[in-house]
């Protein structure tokens, strides 16, 4: 589904990712772990098409199509979802109305008719129940005044509504208490199926107790220095990143 080939990328002329190759097939969950500054978030940013980040060389394809040439909205319509580490607050934009706009943008792209607010509300109500989110979040402005946990839940709600092919969750677990983490992880698990794929970017092993990855990759100084199965995360937890960075 997603093929990342020898990608070098950075910000403001500084190379942060120094040659990453990664293949993600449908049905798979990949966890990308690494210390601060290793390039985890940069990877998420280039997959979602952030305008400030620059890909210097290499290629990224989604189902054979060049992802890097697409505008962020086109990537979204093709089924890429980015769960932000720091979701932005947008005062004045009603959360439910925004979710309906995003949902309808996808429907129009797929040649379907737009849903009116009432029909959409049924879907939204159902998805919110699944995620254990209070209905009051419908009427509030997008992320405005939400706590950290509420913002992350709102990201997962958007993912549930948009049903992406590939979701990239950038440190969705950081800053969450254990209850919120459980809700977020349960939500993600309910959305997993054999047709979609997930990239979890995380600093901590804790999330992986709740969302079992198929593969774990360790990123350090812009490169994947070790890949393995989920047991690798436990080793990292026990021994710390130094164990890998000093031996490589």
């Amino acid at each position: 589904m997603l093929e990342i080939k020898d990608v070098r990328a950075g910000f403001d002329g500084t190379e942060i990712i120094k040659g990453i190759t990664l293949s993600v097939k449908k049905g798979e969950v990949h966890a990308i772990m690494g210390p601060n500054g290793s390039g985890k978030s940069t990877l998420a940013k280039i997959l979602s098409g952030h305008p400030s980040y620059e890909v210097m060389s290499g290629e990224v394809t989604l189902d054979g199509q060049n992802l890097l040439e697409m505008e962020p909205e086109k990537r979204a319509l093709k089924g890429v979802f980015m769960g932000f580490q720091y979701p932005v607050e947008i005062p004045g934009v009603n959360n439910a109305e925004f979710l309906r706009m995003a949902y309808n943008a996808k429907r129009i792209h797929e040649g379907q008719e737009e849903l009116d607010p009432l029909d959409f509300d049924e879907i939204l109500t159902e998805k919110m129940k699944v995620l254990g989110m209070e209905q009051k979040y419908k009427d509030r402005s997008l992320n405005e005044g939400f706590s950290g946990g509420e913002k992350k839940k709102n990201e997962i709600l958007q993912m549930a509504i948009l049903e992406p092919k590939l979701a990239v969750l950038d440190e969705t677990d950081s800053g969450l208490d254990i209850d919120a983490l459980r809700v977020v992880a349960n939500g993600v698990n309910k959305l997993r199926n054999e047709n979609n794929a997930l990239i979890l970017i995380t600093h901590y092993q804790r999330l992986l107790e709740y969302i079992q990855p198929d593969f774990v990759h360790v990123l350090s100084q812009g490169k994947i220095i070790k890949s393995g199965e989920k047991g690798l995360a436990l080793e990292l937890e026990a021994q710390g990143y130094d164990w890998l960075t000093t031996t490589h």
Binding site: H50, E71, E73, P87, V88, I90, M101, A105, K106
Partner: protein, 436 residues
Amino acid sequence: MTTTAAESTDQAESALLDQHKQFLSETQPAADILALNESAIQRFEVLKFPYRKHEMYTFVNTKDITAAPYVFSYGASVAEDFIKKHVYPGCEKSVLVLVDGVYRENLSDISGTSVRLMPIVEALSQADIKSYLESTVANENDVFACINSAFLNHGLMIDVPEKTQSESPLQILHVSTGSPAGKVTTLPRVLVRLGVMAELKLIVKYAGVQGNYFVNSVLDVLVGEDAGVAFTQIQQDNGDAWHCSKNRIVLDRNSRFHASNASYGNKLTRHHYEVHLKETGAELWLNGVSVLTDEEQVHNFVRIHHAAPHCVSNQQFKNIVDDHSRSSIDGTVIVNEGAQLTVSDQLINNLMLSDNAHADNKPNLMIFADDVKCTHGATIGQINEDQLFYLKTRGLSTKIAKELLTKSFADSLIQTIAFPAVVEDLENTLLKKLES
């Protein structure tokens, strides 16, 4: 032959003085109103028309509105459909229509309210109204409001009896008929007085049939003890018009005035708010939103006087300027000696959508008391790139995402307006201006 700016201002002033003589001889005002007209024109001679660097008009070029000749319009006929279009749902039985500043009973309906009407000319027989109006003329610093008083003849007084409340809001609809020929000036004047513990929901809307008019309006609101006003003013004049409105608010003990202004802009709009928090416990909220395109202009001039302790004033303005449009806010909060425990906040946010647009801000605090909490601030910015990116990652096109962000910037203030019909109308018309 060429004339200098100073000479043309002099000519304009003497033309207005001549006009005033003619006005007095034609209308033959009764003694009370004559005294007011005369003291106002004397005040005008002191104030004079603004020159270029006048402190009150730093950001406003008044050349067009001060230029002679002055042709006053007093109410041509207006199609009923036009009126209907501008009366908000829910105000059908609580609407006062003034056409070119003249109250039109046949177009108005106040059967759904408990307010009482009276021409200002008659209200002058009441000593408190007379002395209030005399003092406003003596202390007037706004030359356009001064002209309004000098030619005051058709003003309307609205009395809201003590301890009364109305379910539906009262709408005052100011219609300017305009002129296909030269500029015509209209002088709407309304005075609202609320008795003790009265509550009023008031919507003031300015609309124009056709352009080429200068609406020069004054509204006085005297809010009695423990009374409250929820107020919204909508400036939706013809684009080819000029607009000056002065709102003077006087707040007694524990009274409240919660105001929202929405402006569509035109050749030149200038709102002047003069607010007196006269007695302890008074509270003012003042919000303003304007959405400007092409060469439209909206200027706000705000002076808030905290004269007593324990008063609160809170202002927030949001302006969106696109194309070659201009906005300005010149706002000063004056905390007088003795006005301890004042709480005052002022925030101005501007969103610039074009390199050629212009937004000026002059927030100002003058504090003469030592135990107060006051803040003020202003921001000028473009569309937030992080917000834009976020929306795009959810599949929204750049165009839709930008529209959503600009609309939401203004909508967050529009949604604070207490009248759903007005909110809906502004979302459907004012925010429509942001769609390309």
